[in-house]
Amino acid sequence: MSERAIVLKTEKLGMMFGGLKAVNDFNIEILEGELVGLIGPNGSGKTTVFNMLTGLHIPFEGEIYLMGKRITGMKTHKIIEQGIARTFQNIRLFGEMSVLENVKTSFTKDVKYNLFDTMFRTPKYFQIEKDIEDKAMDCLRIVHLDDKAAFQAKSLPYGQQRKLEIARALATDMKLLLLDEPAAGMNPTETSELIACIYDIRKKFNITIFLIEHDMSLVMKICERIQVINFGNTIAHGFPNEIAHNPDVIEAYLGEEAVENA
Protein backbone atom coordinates (compact mmCIF):
# COMPACT_ATOMS: atom_id res chain seq x y z
CA MET A 1 0.00 0.00 0.00
CA SER A 2 2.67 2.48 0.99
CA GLU A 3 4.68 1.50 -2.10
CA ARG A 4 2.22 3.24 -4.40
CA ALA A 5 3.60 6.09 -6.48
CA ILE A 6 2.36 9.63 -6.05
CA VAL A 7 0.50 10.46 -9.26
CA LEU A 8 -0.45 14.05 -8.51
CA LYS A 9 1.05 16.44 -6.07
CA THR A 10 0.42 20.15 -5.68
CA GLU A 11 2.29 22.61 -3.49
CA LYS A 12 0.74 25.85 -2.25
CA LEU A 13 -1.31 26.18 -5.45
CA GLY A 14 -3.06 29.54 -5.71
CA MET A 15 -5.12 31.47 -8.24
CA MET A 16 -6.16 35.13 -8.36
CA PHE A 17 -8.94 36.63 -10.48
CA GLY A 18 -8.58 40.39 -10.31
CA GLY A 19 -8.54 41.04 -6.59
CA LEU A 20 -10.28 37.79 -5.72
CA LYS A 21 -8.28 34.86 -4.45
CA ALA A 22 -10.26 31.99 -5.98
CA VAL A 23 -7.92 29.27 -4.71
CA ASN A 24 -5.43 29.58 -1.89
CA ASP A 25 -2.67 27.30 -0.63
CA PHE A 26 -4.10 24.16 -2.22
CA ASN A 27 -2.07 21.05 -1.36
CA ILE A 28 -2.92 17.51 -2.29
CA GLU A 29 -1.21 14.18 -2.88
CA ILE A 30 -2.99 11.49 -4.85
CA LEU A 31 -1.58 7.97 -4.98
CA GLU A 32 -1.72 5.61 -7.92
CA GLY A 33 -5.12 3.95 -8.31
CA GLU A 34 -6.86 6.15 -5.75
CA LEU A 35 -10.26 7.74 -6.22
CA VAL A 36 -10.23 11.11 -4.48
CA GLY A 37 -13.10 13.56 -4.25
CA LEU A 38 -13.00 17.35 -4.16
CA ILE A 39 -16.07 18.95 -2.67
CA GLY A 40 -17.14 22.39 -1.57
CA PRO A 41 -20.05 24.83 -1.82
CA ASN A 42 -20.80 26.69 -5.05
CA GLY A 43 -18.05 29.04 -6.17
CA SER A 44 -15.53 27.64 -3.71
CA GLY A 45 -12.88 27.19 -6.41
CA LYS A 46 -13.13 23.51 -7.36
CA THR A 47 -13.29 24.00 -11.11
CA THR A 48 -10.50 26.54 -10.83
CA VAL A 49 -8.27 23.83 -9.32
CA PHE A 50 -9.00 21.56 -12.29
CA ASN A 51 -8.36 24.41 -14.70
CA MET A 52 -4.96 24.96 -13.15
CA LEU A 53 -4.14 21.25 -13.25
CA THR A 54 -4.92 21.15 -16.98
CA GLY A 55 -3.22 24.40 -17.92
CA LEU A 56 -6.36 26.36 -18.76
CA HIS A 57 -5.36 28.78 -16.02
CA ILE A 58 -1.72 29.44 -15.28
CA PRO A 59 -1.37 29.22 -11.49
CA PHE A 60 -0.77 32.50 -9.70
CA GLU A 61 1.52 30.67 -7.31
CA GLY A 62 2.56 27.16 -6.35
CA GLU A 63 3.65 24.04 -8.19
CA ILE A 64 2.02 20.99 -9.79
CA TYR A 65 3.79 17.64 -10.20
CA LEU A 66 2.52 14.70 -12.24
CA MET A 67 4.36 11.45 -11.53
CA GLY A 68 7.08 13.55 -9.96
CA LYS A 69 7.46 15.75 -13.05
CA ARG A 70 6.81 19.46 -12.76
CA ILE A 71 4.01 20.51 -15.12
CA THR A 72 3.24 23.97 -13.76
CA GLY A 73 2.53 26.48 -16.53
CA MET A 74 2.68 23.94 -19.36
CA LYS A 75 0.32 24.34 -22.31
CA THR A 76 -2.89 22.33 -22.07
CA HIS A 77 -2.15 19.91 -24.90
CA LYS A 78 1.30 19.21 -23.42
CA ILE A 79 -0.23 18.41 -20.06
CA ILE A 80 -2.68 16.04 -21.73
CA GLU A 81 0.30 14.34 -23.38
CA GLN A 82 1.89 13.95 -19.95
CA GLY A 83 -1.13 11.95 -18.88
CA ILE A 84 -3.95 14.03 -17.45
CA ALA A 85 -7.42 13.93 -18.99
CA ARG A 86 -10.54 15.76 -17.95
CA THR A 87 -14.23 16.35 -18.49
CA PHE A 88 -15.99 19.68 -18.14
CA GLN A 89 -18.72 20.82 -15.77
CA ASN A 90 -20.64 22.45 -18.61
CA ILE A 91 -20.30 19.81 -21.29
CA ARG A 92 -17.90 20.69 -24.09
CA LEU A 93 -18.38 18.23 -26.91
CA PHE A 94 -17.66 18.70 -30.61
CA GLY A 95 -21.37 19.00 -31.28
CA GLU A 96 -21.43 18.86 -35.07
CA MET A 97 -19.16 15.81 -35.23
CA SER A 98 -20.21 12.21 -34.84
CA VAL A 99 -19.93 10.40 -31.51
CA LEU A 100 -17.12 8.26 -32.91
CA GLU A 101 -15.26 11.24 -34.33
CA ASN A 102 -15.43 12.93 -30.93
CA VAL A 103 -13.51 10.04 -29.42
CA LYS A 104 -11.15 9.75 -32.39
CA THR A 105 -9.95 13.33 -31.92
CA SER A 106 -8.30 12.26 -28.69
CA PHE A 107 -5.93 10.03 -30.66
CA THR A 108 -4.70 12.92 -32.82
CA LYS A 109 -1.59 13.37 -30.69
CA ASP A 110 -0.60 9.70 -31.06
CA VAL A 111 -1.26 9.41 -34.79
CA LYS A 112 2.04 9.03 -36.57
CA TYR A 113 1.05 9.48 -40.22
CA ASN A 114 1.91 12.69 -42.05
CA LEU A 115 0.58 14.81 -44.92
CA PHE A 116 2.14 12.45 -47.47
CA ASP A 117 0.30 9.44 -46.04
CA THR A 118 -2.85 11.53 -45.91
CA MET A 119 -2.64 12.56 -49.56
CA PHE A 120 -1.74 9.17 -51.00
CA ARG A 121 -3.72 7.08 -48.52
CA THR A 122 -0.80 4.75 -47.91
CA PRO A 123 -1.28 1.36 -46.21
CA LYS A 124 0.12 3.02 -43.09
CA TYR A 125 -2.72 5.53 -43.18
CA PHE A 126 -5.39 2.83 -43.41
CA GLN A 127 -3.72 0.73 -40.73
CA ILE A 128 -3.53 3.61 -38.27
CA GLU A 129 -7.06 4.80 -39.02
CA LYS A 130 -8.35 1.29 -38.44
CA ASP A 131 -6.47 1.00 -35.14
CA ILE A 132 -7.90 4.34 -34.02
CA GLU A 133 -11.38 3.28 -34.97
CA ASP A 134 -11.08 0.03 -33.00
CA LYS A 135 -9.67 1.80 -29.95
CA ALA A 136 -12.34 4.49 -30.14
CA MET A 137 -15.06 1.85 -30.31
CA ASP A 138 -13.54 0.19 -27.24
CA CYS A 139 -13.79 3.47 -25.36
CA LEU A 140 -17.40 3.88 -26.46
CA ARG A 141 -18.20 0.33 -25.37
CA ILE A 142 -17.04 1.08 -21.84
CA VAL A 143 -19.62 3.85 -21.50
CA HIS A 144 -22.22 1.86 -23.47
CA LEU A 145 -22.38 4.29 -26.38
CA ASP A 146 -21.04 1.97 -29.07
CA ASP A 147 -24.45 1.70 -30.72
CA LYS A 148 -24.57 5.50 -31.02
CA ALA A 149 -21.26 5.82 -32.87
CA ALA A 150 -22.68 7.39 -36.02
CA PHE A 151 -24.95 9.86 -34.22
CA GLN A 152 -24.21 13.54 -34.08
CA ALA A 153 -22.81 14.33 -30.62
CA LYS A 154 -25.20 17.19 -29.95
CA SER A 155 -28.19 14.97 -30.70
CA LEU A 156 -27.49 12.74 -27.67
CA PRO A 157 -29.50 13.16 -24.48
CA TYR A 158 -27.77 14.96 -21.64
CA GLY A 159 -26.70 11.92 -19.64
CA GLN A 160 -25.14 10.29 -22.69
CA GLN A 161 -23.31 13.49 -23.58
CA ARG A 162 -21.63 13.34 -20.17
CA LYS A 163 -20.66 9.74 -20.81
CA LEU A 164 -19.31 10.62 -24.23
CA GLU A 165 -17.10 13.23 -22.59
CA ILE A 166 -15.75 10.54 -20.31
CA ALA A 167 -15.10 8.25 -23.28
CA ARG A 168 -13.29 11.04 -25.07
CA ALA A 169 -11.15 11.67 -22.01
CA LEU A 170 -10.37 7.94 -21.65
CA ALA A 171 -9.14 7.86 -25.22
CA THR A 172 -6.23 10.17 -24.40
CA ASP A 173 -4.62 7.26 -22.56
CA MET A 174 -4.17 9.05 -19.26
CA LYS A 175 -2.79 8.24 -15.84
CA LEU A 176 -5.00 10.71 -14.01
CA LEU A 177 -8.63 11.36 -14.89
CA LEU A 178 -10.29 14.55 -13.68
CA LEU A 179 -14.09 14.48 -13.62
CA ASP A 180 -15.86 17.80 -13.03
CA GLU A 181 -19.32 17.02 -11.65
CA PRO A 182 -19.94 13.95 -13.82
CA ALA A 183 -23.38 13.32 -12.31
CA ALA A 184 -24.66 16.90 -12.60
CA GLY A 185 -28.13 16.97 -14.10
CA MET A 186 -28.48 13.19 -14.13
CA ASN A 187 -31.48 11.33 -12.76
CA PRO A 188 -30.94 8.55 -10.13
CA THR A 189 -30.88 5.77 -12.75
CA GLU A 190 -28.35 7.60 -14.86
CA THR A 191 -26.29 8.31 -11.76
CA SER A 192 -26.15 4.67 -10.73
CA GLU A 193 -25.22 3.73 -14.29
CA LEU A 194 -22.47 6.29 -14.10
CA ILE A 195 -21.17 4.84 -10.83
CA ALA A 196 -21.05 1.39 -12.39
CA CYS A 197 -19.25 2.92 -15.32
CA ILE A 198 -16.63 4.57 -13.10
CA TYR A 199 -16.00 1.29 -11.27
CA ASP A 200 -15.63 -0.40 -14.63
CA ILE A 201 -13.09 2.13 -15.81
CA ARG A 202 -11.04 1.78 -12.64
CA LYS A 203 -11.02 -1.98 -12.95
CA LYS A 204 -10.07 -2.03 -16.63
CA PHE A 205 -7.54 0.79 -16.77
CA ASN A 206 -6.22 0.88 -13.23
CA ILE A 207 -6.22 4.66 -13.40
CA THR A 208 -6.31 7.34 -10.76
CA ILE A 209 -9.43 9.47 -10.54
CA PHE A 210 -9.90 12.90 -9.00
CA LEU A 211 -13.49 14.05 -9.09
CA ILE A 212 -15.60 17.04 -8.18
CA GLU A 213 -19.16 16.26 -7.24
CA HIS A 214 -22.15 17.91 -5.65
CA ASP A 215 -24.09 14.70 -5.17
CA MET A 216 -22.98 13.84 -1.62
CA SER A 217 -24.35 10.30 -1.63
CA LEU A 218 -22.23 9.59 -4.70
CA VAL A 219 -19.11 11.14 -3.20
CA MET A 220 -19.48 9.35 0.12
CA LYS A 221 -20.10 6.08 -1.65
CA ILE A 222 -17.28 5.92 -4.13
CA CYS A 223 -14.46 8.19 -2.93
CA GLU A 224 -11.64 6.75 -0.87
CA ARG A 225 -10.51 10.15 0.33
CA ILE A 226 -12.09 13.57 0.22
CA GLN A 227 -10.75 17.11 0.30
CA VAL A 228 -13.12 19.96 1.12
CA ILE A 229 -12.58 23.57 0.07
CA ASN A 230 -14.53 26.69 0.93
CA PHE A 231 -13.76 30.16 -0.42
CA GLY A 232 -10.65 28.70 -1.99
CA ASN A 233 -9.24 27.39 1.29
CA THR A 234 -8.95 23.73 2.25
CA ILE A 235 -11.07 23.24 5.35
CA ALA A 236 -10.80 19.48 5.71
CA HIS A 237 -9.39 16.33 4.18
CA GLY A 238 -9.66 12.68 5.10
CA PHE A 239 -11.76 9.55 4.76
CA PRO A 240 -15.45 9.91 3.89
CA ASN A 241 -16.73 9.12 7.39
CA GLU A 242 -14.33 11.63 8.95
CA ILE A 243 -15.46 14.31 6.51
CA ALA A 244 -19.12 13.55 7.14
CA HIS A 245 -18.66 14.28 10.84
CA ASN A 246 -16.30 17.23 10.53
CA PRO A 247 -17.96 20.29 12.13
CA ASP A 248 -16.28 22.75 9.70
CA VAL A 249 -17.61 20.86 6.75
CA ILE A 250 -21.07 20.64 8.23
CA GLU A 251 -21.01 24.36 8.83
CA ALA A 252 -19.85 25.12 5.28
CA TYR A 253 -22.64 22.98 3.95
CA LEU A 254 -25.20 24.09 6.53
CA GLY A 255 -28.63 23.50 5.17
CA GLU A 256 -27.29 21.32 2.41
CA GLU A 257 -27.28 17.60 1.90
CA ALA A 258 -24.07 17.06 3.83
CA VAL A 259 -25.90 17.71 7.06
CA GLU A 260 -28.51 15.12 6.25
CA ASN A 261 -25.85 12.59 5.41
CA ALA A 262 -23.86 13.34 8.51
Binding site: K75, M97, T105, F107, K109, V111, E129, A150
Partner: protein, 375 residues
Protein backbone atom coordinates in the same frame (compact mmCIF):
# COMPACT_ATOMS: atom_id res chain seq x y z
CA UNK B 1 -12.95 -11.30 -43.72
CA UNK B 2 -15.62 -11.47 -46.42
CA UNK B 3 -16.87 -8.15 -45.15
CA UNK B 4 -13.46 -6.60 -45.56
CA UNK B 5 -13.14 -8.05 -49.04
CA UNK B 6 -16.56 -6.69 -49.96
CA UNK B 7 -15.50 -3.27 -48.77
CA UNK B 8 -12.26 -3.18 -50.73
CA UNK B 9 -14.09 -4.50 -53.79
CA UNK B 10 -16.47 -1.59 -53.48
CA UNK B 11 -13.51 0.77 -53.24
CA UNK B 12 -12.09 -0.64 -56.47
CA UNK B 13 -15.45 -0.40 -58.24
CA UNK B 14 -15.85 3.20 -57.09
CA UNK B 15 -12.38 4.12 -58.34
CA UNK B 16 -12.93 2.47 -61.72
CA UNK B 17 -16.23 4.30 -62.19
CA UNK B 18 -14.61 7.57 -61.12
CA UNK B 19 -11.81 7.19 -63.68
CA UNK B 20 -14.37 6.21 -66.35
CA UNK B 21 -16.44 9.30 -65.58
CA UNK B 22 -13.35 11.47 -65.77
CA UNK B 23 -12.44 10.03 -69.17
CA UNK B 24 -15.97 10.65 -70.44
CA UNK B 25 -15.89 14.26 -69.23
CA UNK B 26 -12.51 14.85 -70.83
CA UNK B 27 -13.72 13.26 -74.05
CA UNK B 28 -16.81 15.49 -74.18
CA UNK B 29 -14.61 18.44 -73.44
CA UNK B 30 -12.13 17.63 -76.19
CA UNK B 31 -14.97 17.19 -78.69
CA UNK B 32 -16.51 20.54 -77.74
CA UNK B 33 -13.12 22.22 -77.85
CA UNK B 34 -12.49 21.03 -81.37
CA UNK B 35 -15.28 23.34 -82.45
CA UNK B 36 -13.80 26.78 -82.98
CA UNK B 37 -16.83 28.68 -81.71
CA UNK B 38 -17.07 26.73 -78.51
CA UNK B 39 -13.37 26.90 -77.93
CA UNK B 40 -13.30 30.68 -77.96
CA UNK B 41 -16.01 30.79 -75.31
CA UNK B 42 -15.10 27.76 -73.23
CA UNK B 43 -11.37 28.11 -72.72
CA UNK B 44 -11.35 31.32 -70.67
CA UNK B 45 -14.32 30.03 -68.66
CA UNK B 46 -12.49 26.83 -67.80
CA UNK B 47 -9.35 28.66 -66.68
CA UNK B 48 -11.38 31.04 -64.55
CA UNK B 49 -13.55 28.31 -63.07
CA UNK B 50 -10.48 26.35 -62.02
CA UNK B 51 -9.10 29.45 -60.31
CA UNK B 52 -12.36 30.14 -58.48
CA UNK B 53 -12.77 26.52 -57.44
CA UNK B 54 -9.26 26.58 -55.97
CA UNK B 55 -9.96 29.86 -54.19
CA UNK B 56 -13.31 28.72 -52.81
CA UNK B 57 -12.20 25.31 -51.60
CA UNK B 58 -8.99 26.63 -50.07
CA UNK B 59 -10.79 29.42 -48.22
CA UNK B 60 -13.28 26.83 -46.98
CA UNK B 61 -10.42 25.08 -45.17
CA UNK B 62 -9.93 28.06 -42.86
CA UNK B 63 -13.46 29.45 -42.86
CA UNK B 64 -15.56 26.30 -42.90
CA UNK B 65 -13.47 23.52 -41.43
CA UNK B 66 -11.29 25.50 -39.05
CA UNK B 67 -14.02 28.06 -38.37
CA UNK B 68 -11.84 31.17 -38.57
CA UNK B 69 -13.16 34.11 -40.57
CA UNK B 70 -10.39 35.48 -42.76
CA UNK B 71 -10.98 38.33 -45.19
CA UNK B 72 -7.65 38.60 -46.97
CA UNK B 73 -7.65 35.49 -49.11
CA UNK B 74 -7.09 37.38 -52.36
CA UNK B 75 -3.92 38.87 -50.91
CA UNK B 76 -2.32 35.43 -51.04
CA UNK B 77 -3.59 34.93 -54.55
CA UNK B 78 -1.91 38.24 -55.45
CA UNK B 79 1.38 37.07 -53.98
CA UNK B 80 1.15 33.88 -56.01
CA UNK B 81 0.23 35.71 -59.21
CA UNK B 82 3.02 38.27 -59.00
CA UNK B 83 5.60 35.71 -57.92
CA UNK B 84 4.69 33.43 -60.83
CA UNK B 85 4.67 36.32 -63.32
CA UNK B 86 7.95 37.82 -62.16
CA UNK B 87 9.79 34.51 -61.91
CA UNK B 88 8.74 33.49 -65.41
CA UNK B 89 9.74 36.90 -66.63
CA UNK B 90 13.14 36.46 -65.05
CA UNK B 91 13.51 33.17 -66.92
CA UNK B 92 12.59 34.91 -70.12
CA UNK B 93 14.99 37.78 -69.51
CA UNK B 94 17.71 35.24 -68.90
CA UNK B 95 16.95 33.86 -72.33
CA UNK B 96 15.86 30.48 -71.00
CA UNK B 97 12.26 30.51 -72.07
CA UNK B 98 9.87 32.11 -74.57
CA UNK B 99 6.23 31.23 -74.02
CA UNK B 100 5.27 31.49 -77.68
CA UNK B 101 7.87 29.12 -78.97
CA UNK B 102 8.61 26.93 -75.98
CA UNK B 103 8.31 23.18 -76.51
CA UNK B 104 5.32 21.70 -74.65
CA UNK B 105 7.27 20.05 -71.86
CA UNK B 106 9.24 23.19 -71.15
CA UNK B 107 6.13 25.36 -71.13
CA UNK B 108 4.33 22.99 -68.77
CA UNK B 109 7.43 22.88 -66.58
CA UNK B 110 7.60 26.66 -66.40
CA UNK B 111 3.85 27.03 -65.78
CA UNK B 112 3.95 24.44 -63.02
CA UNK B 113 7.25 25.59 -61.55
CA UNK B 114 6.36 29.28 -61.44
CA UNK B 115 2.87 28.60 -60.04
CA UNK B 116 4.32 26.34 -57.37
CA UNK B 117 6.87 29.00 -56.50
CA UNK B 118 4.01 31.49 -56.16
CA UNK B 119 2.16 29.05 -53.95
CA UNK B 120 5.22 28.47 -51.76
CA UNK B 121 5.89 32.19 -51.34
CA UNK B 122 2.22 32.76 -50.46
CA UNK B 123 2.46 29.88 -47.99
CA UNK B 124 5.57 31.27 -46.33
CA UNK B 125 4.10 34.76 -45.99
CA UNK B 126 0.85 33.35 -44.59
CA UNK B 127 2.89 31.36 -42.08
CA UNK B 128 4.63 34.53 -40.91
CA UNK B 129 1.28 36.31 -40.67
CA UNK B 130 -0.60 33.41 -39.14
CA UNK B 131 1.71 32.99 -36.17
CA UNK B 132 0.71 36.32 -34.59
CA UNK B 133 -2.72 36.71 -36.25
CA UNK B 134 -4.19 33.35 -35.32
CA UNK B 135 -3.91 34.22 -31.64
CA UNK B 136 -6.99 36.33 -32.27
CA UNK B 137 -10.47 35.04 -32.75
CA UNK B 138 -13.70 35.90 -34.50
CA UNK B 139 -14.14 39.51 -35.52
CA UNK B 140 -10.61 40.44 -34.45
CA UNK B 141 -9.05 37.86 -36.74
CA UNK B 142 -11.33 39.03 -39.56
CA UNK B 143 -10.13 42.62 -39.12
CA UNK B 144 -6.47 41.62 -38.89
CA UNK B 145 -6.64 39.48 -42.04
CA UNK B 146 -8.55 42.21 -43.84
CA UNK B 147 -5.72 44.56 -42.92
CA UNK B 148 -3.07 42.07 -44.03
CA UNK B 149 -4.82 41.66 -47.36
CA UNK B 150 -4.81 45.41 -47.95
CA UNK B 151 -1.17 45.67 -46.87
CA UNK B 152 -0.16 42.97 -49.36
CA UNK B 153 -2.04 44.77 -52.11
CA UNK B 154 -0.37 48.08 -51.32
CA UNK B 155 3.10 46.64 -50.92
CA UNK B 156 2.88 44.97 -54.31
CA UNK B 157 1.51 48.16 -55.87
CA UNK B 158 4.52 50.08 -54.61
CA UNK B 159 7.21 47.59 -55.52
CA UNK B 160 9.29 49.23 -58.25
CA UNK B 161 9.45 46.03 -60.27
CA UNK B 162 5.73 45.31 -60.04
CA UNK B 163 4.25 48.76 -60.33
CA UNK B 164 1.04 50.52 -59.45
CA UNK B 165 -1.03 49.51 -62.41
CA UNK B 166 0.50 46.15 -62.63
CA UNK B 167 3.18 44.61 -64.66
CA UNK B 168 1.86 45.79 -67.99
CA UNK B 169 1.82 49.51 -67.23
CA UNK B 170 3.82 49.64 -64.04
CA UNK B 171 5.90 52.65 -63.20
CA UNK B 172 9.25 51.01 -63.68
CA UNK B 173 8.21 48.32 -66.08
CA UNK B 174 6.75 49.67 -69.27
CA UNK B 175 6.57 46.38 -71.12
CA UNK B 176 7.65 44.08 -68.36
CA UNK B 177 4.74 41.73 -68.77
CA UNK B 178 4.22 41.86 -72.49
CA UNK B 179 5.53 38.37 -72.81
CA UNK B 180 6.41 36.42 -69.69
CA UNK B 181 4.08 33.71 -68.52
CA UNK B 182 0.85 35.28 -69.76
CA UNK B 183 0.15 32.87 -72.59
CA UNK B 184 -2.10 33.81 -75.50
CA UNK B 185 -5.52 32.32 -76.14
CA UNK B 186 -4.22 29.76 -78.60
CA UNK B 187 -1.84 28.35 -76.01
CA UNK B 188 -4.51 28.60 -73.33
CA UNK B 189 -6.70 26.37 -75.46
CA UNK B 190 -3.85 23.99 -76.16
CA UNK B 191 -3.00 23.63 -72.46
CA UNK B 192 -6.53 23.77 -71.07
CA UNK B 193 -6.04 20.43 -69.31
CA UNK B 194 -3.26 21.93 -67.22
CA UNK B 195 -5.54 23.95 -64.90
CA UNK B 196 -8.13 21.16 -64.90
CA UNK B 197 -5.69 18.49 -63.73
CA UNK B 198 -4.02 20.84 -61.27
CA UNK B 199 -7.38 21.73 -59.75
CA UNK B 200 -8.46 18.10 -59.51
CA UNK B 201 -5.22 17.19 -57.72
CA UNK B 202 -5.49 20.13 -55.32
CA UNK B 203 -9.14 19.52 -54.47
CA UNK B 204 -8.35 15.83 -53.97
CA UNK B 205 -5.60 16.82 -51.55
CA UNK B 206 -7.95 19.11 -49.64
CA UNK B 207 -10.54 16.36 -49.49
CA UNK B 208 -7.97 13.91 -48.12
CA UNK B 209 -6.84 16.55 -45.64
CA UNK B 210 -10.32 17.18 -44.29
CA UNK B 211 -11.14 13.49 -43.92
CA UNK B 212 -7.98 12.58 -42.00
CA UNK B 213 -6.75 13.30 -38.49
CA UNK B 214 -6.04 16.84 -39.68
CA UNK B 215 -9.68 17.33 -40.62
CA UNK B 216 -10.86 15.90 -37.31
CA UNK B 217 -8.48 18.17 -35.42
CA UNK B 218 -9.53 21.36 -37.18
CA UNK B 219 -13.23 20.56 -36.95
CA UNK B 220 -12.76 19.92 -33.24
CA UNK B 221 -11.05 23.31 -32.91
CA UNK B 222 -13.97 24.93 -34.72
CA UNK B 223 -16.46 23.27 -32.38
CA UNK B 224 -14.64 24.03 -29.14
CA UNK B 225 -11.02 25.10 -28.98
CA UNK B 226 -10.67 24.57 -25.23
CA UNK B 227 -12.03 21.04 -25.45
CA UNK B 228 -9.79 20.37 -28.45
CA UNK B 229 -6.75 21.40 -26.42
CA UNK B 230 -7.98 19.28 -23.54
CA UNK B 231 -8.13 16.31 -25.92
CA UNK B 232 -4.43 16.72 -26.56
CA UNK B 233 -4.73 18.63 -29.84
CA UNK B 234 -2.14 21.34 -30.36
CA UNK B 235 -4.68 23.87 -31.60
CA UNK B 236 -2.11 26.52 -32.50
CA UNK B 237 -0.18 24.10 -34.70
CA UNK B 238 -3.23 22.87 -36.61
CA UNK B 239 -4.56 26.40 -37.05
CA UNK B 240 -1.31 27.69 -38.52
CA UNK B 241 -0.87 24.60 -40.69
CA UNK B 242 -4.36 24.95 -42.13
CA UNK B 243 -4.01 28.69 -42.68
CA UNK B 244 -0.74 28.07 -44.53
CA UNK B 245 -2.16 25.28 -46.70
CA UNK B 246 -5.12 27.48 -47.52
CA UNK B 247 -2.82 30.32 -48.59
CA UNK B 248 -0.66 27.88 -50.56
CA UNK B 249 -3.59 26.93 -52.76
CA UNK B 250 -4.66 30.56 -53.09
CA UNK B 251 -1.11 31.27 -54.30
CA UNK B 252 -1.40 28.43 -56.79
CA UNK B 253 -4.67 29.91 -58.04
CA UNK B 254 -2.76 33.17 -58.42
CA UNK B 255 -0.22 31.36 -60.58
CA UNK B 256 -3.00 30.08 -62.85
CA UNK B 257 -4.38 33.60 -63.01
CA UNK B 258 -1.02 35.01 -64.04
CA UNK B 259 -0.83 32.43 -66.81
CA UNK B 260 -4.31 33.17 -68.11
CA UNK B 261 -4.19 36.97 -68.20
CA UNK B 262 -2.06 39.35 -70.18
CA UNK B 263 -1.59 41.90 -67.40
CA UNK B 264 -1.80 42.02 -63.63
CA UNK B 265 -3.17 44.86 -61.53
CA UNK B 266 -3.23 44.88 -57.75
CA UNK B 267 -6.87 46.00 -57.83
CA UNK B 268 -7.73 42.38 -58.65
CA UNK B 269 -6.48 41.13 -55.31
CA UNK B 270 -8.31 43.42 -52.96
CA UNK B 271 -11.11 43.12 -50.44
CA UNK B 272 -13.93 44.50 -52.56
CA UNK B 273 -14.30 46.05 -56.00
CA UNK B 274 -16.82 46.23 -58.81
CA UNK B 275 -15.75 42.95 -60.43
CA UNK B 276 -15.83 39.43 -59.01
CA UNK B 277 -12.10 39.23 -58.41
CA UNK B 278 -12.04 40.13 -54.74
CA UNK B 279 -11.96 38.50 -51.30
CA UNK B 280 -15.60 39.24 -50.53
CA UNK B 281 -16.73 37.25 -53.53
CA UNK B 282 -14.80 34.22 -52.31
CA UNK B 283 -16.22 34.58 -48.80
CA UNK B 284 -19.73 34.73 -50.23
CA UNK B 285 -18.92 31.67 -52.31
CA UNK B 286 -17.91 29.67 -49.24
CA UNK B 287 -20.90 30.74 -47.16
CA UNK B 288 -23.28 30.09 -50.02
CA UNK B 289 -21.91 26.64 -50.79
CA UNK B 290 -21.78 25.60 -47.16
CA UNK B 291 -19.03 26.14 -44.62
CA UNK B 292 -17.41 22.76 -44.19
CA UNK B 293 -18.33 21.32 -47.59
CA UNK B 294 -15.77 21.33 -50.40
CA UNK B 295 -18.50 20.07 -52.70
CA UNK B 296 -20.54 23.14 -51.79
CA UNK B 297 -17.66 25.48 -52.59
CA UNK B 298 -17.20 23.88 -55.99
CA UNK B 299 -20.90 24.15 -56.80
CA UNK B 300 -21.00 27.74 -55.57
CA UNK B 301 -17.88 28.66 -57.54
CA UNK B 302 -19.35 27.29 -60.76
CA UNK B 303 -22.83 28.68 -60.09
CA UNK B 304 -21.71 32.16 -59.12
CA UNK B 305 -19.16 32.45 -61.90
CA UNK B 306 -21.66 31.33 -64.52
CA UNK B 307 -24.31 33.69 -63.14
CA UNK B 308 -21.83 36.50 -63.41
CA UNK B 309 -20.89 35.39 -66.92
CA UNK B 310 -24.54 35.44 -67.93
CA UNK B 311 -25.04 38.87 -66.44
CA UNK B 312 -22.03 40.15 -68.36
CA UNK B 313 -22.67 38.39 -71.66
CA UNK B 314 -26.24 37.10 -71.74
CA UNK B 315 -28.54 38.44 -74.41
CA UNK B 316 -31.40 38.52 -71.90
CA UNK B 317 -29.61 41.19 -69.87
CA UNK B 318 -29.31 43.49 -72.86
CA UNK B 319 -33.06 43.10 -73.41
CA UNK B 320 -33.82 44.34 -69.90
CA UNK B 321 -34.85 47.87 -68.93
CA UNK B 322 -32.02 50.30 -68.46
CA UNK B 323 -32.23 50.61 -64.69
CA UNK B 324 -31.95 46.83 -64.21
CA UNK B 325 -28.96 46.76 -66.49
CA UNK B 326 -27.28 49.37 -64.36
CA UNK B 327 -27.82 47.18 -61.29
CA UNK B 328 -26.22 44.30 -63.13
CA UNK B 329 -23.19 46.44 -63.71
CA UNK B 330 -22.39 45.80 -60.02
CA UNK B 331 -22.40 42.03 -59.65
CA UNK B 332 -21.70 42.23 -55.91
CA UNK B 333 -25.19 43.69 -55.45
CA UNK B 334 -26.68 40.60 -57.03
CA UNK B 335 -24.55 38.32 -54.89
CA UNK B 336 -25.54 40.11 -51.70
CA UNK B 337 -29.13 39.48 -52.73
CA UNK B 338 -28.56 35.82 -53.62
CA UNK B 339 -26.67 35.28 -50.35
CA UNK B 340 -29.50 36.80 -48.31
CA UNK B 341 -32.06 34.57 -49.98
CA UNK B 342 -30.01 31.40 -49.53
CA UNK B 343 -29.17 32.13 -45.89
CA UNK B 344 -32.84 32.80 -45.16
CA UNK B 345 -33.87 29.36 -46.37
CA UNK B 346 -30.68 27.38 -45.83
CA UNK B 347 -28.77 28.97 -42.93
CA UNK B 348 -25.85 26.57 -43.37
CA UNK B 349 -25.47 27.17 -47.10
CA UNK B 350 -26.56 25.01 -49.98
CA UNK B 351 -24.68 21.89 -48.87
CA UNK B 352 -24.14 22.43 -45.14
CA UNK B 353 -21.27 20.08 -44.28
CA UNK B 354 -22.37 17.41 -46.73
CA UNK B 355 -19.76 16.06 -49.15
CA UNK B 356 -20.55 14.31 -52.38
CA UNK B 357 -19.37 10.71 -52.35
CA UNK B 358 -19.57 8.46 -55.38
CA UNK B 359 -19.19 5.43 -53.15
CA UNK B 360 -22.15 6.41 -51.03
CA UNK B 361 -24.18 7.10 -54.15
CA UNK B 362 -23.42 3.63 -55.51
CA UNK B 363 -23.75 1.61 -52.34
CA UNK B 364 -26.04 3.78 -50.27
CA UNK B 365 -28.31 0.99 -49.11
CA UNK B 366 -25.72 -1.53 -48.06
CA UNK B 367 -23.25 0.78 -46.38
CA UNK B 368 -23.68 2.18 -42.93
CA UNK B 369 -21.80 5.41 -42.39
CA UNK B 370 -20.13 4.56 -39.12
CA UNK B 371 -17.34 6.99 -38.46
CA UNK B 372 -18.17 9.13 -41.43
CA UNK B 373 -20.00 12.40 -41.24
CA UNK B 374 -22.48 12.51 -38.42
CA UNK B 375 -26.05 11.47 -39.10
Amino acid sequence: MTDLRKKSLRGVITNVIMVALLIIVIYILSVSLSDNNYRLKLVPIIWHLCIFILLGTSLNLTMGFLGQLTLGHMGFMGIGAYTAALSSLALERAGLFIAKTAPPLQLIGVMLGCSLLGAIVAGIISLLMGIPALRMRGDYLAIVTLGFGLIIENVIANLPFAGGNGLAEGTASANLYQNGLGINSRLQAQYVYFPILLTIICVAFMFMYTTSKYGRAIKAIREDEIAANASGINATYYKILTFTISAFFAGLAGGLYAISTSSLTTGTFTFANSSIWNSTFIVVMVVLGGMGSLTGSIIAAIGMYMLNYEIKNGAWVAAMPQFLQSIFAFPMLIYAFVLTIVIMFKPFGLMGTYEFSLRRLLFRKSERAIGGEAK
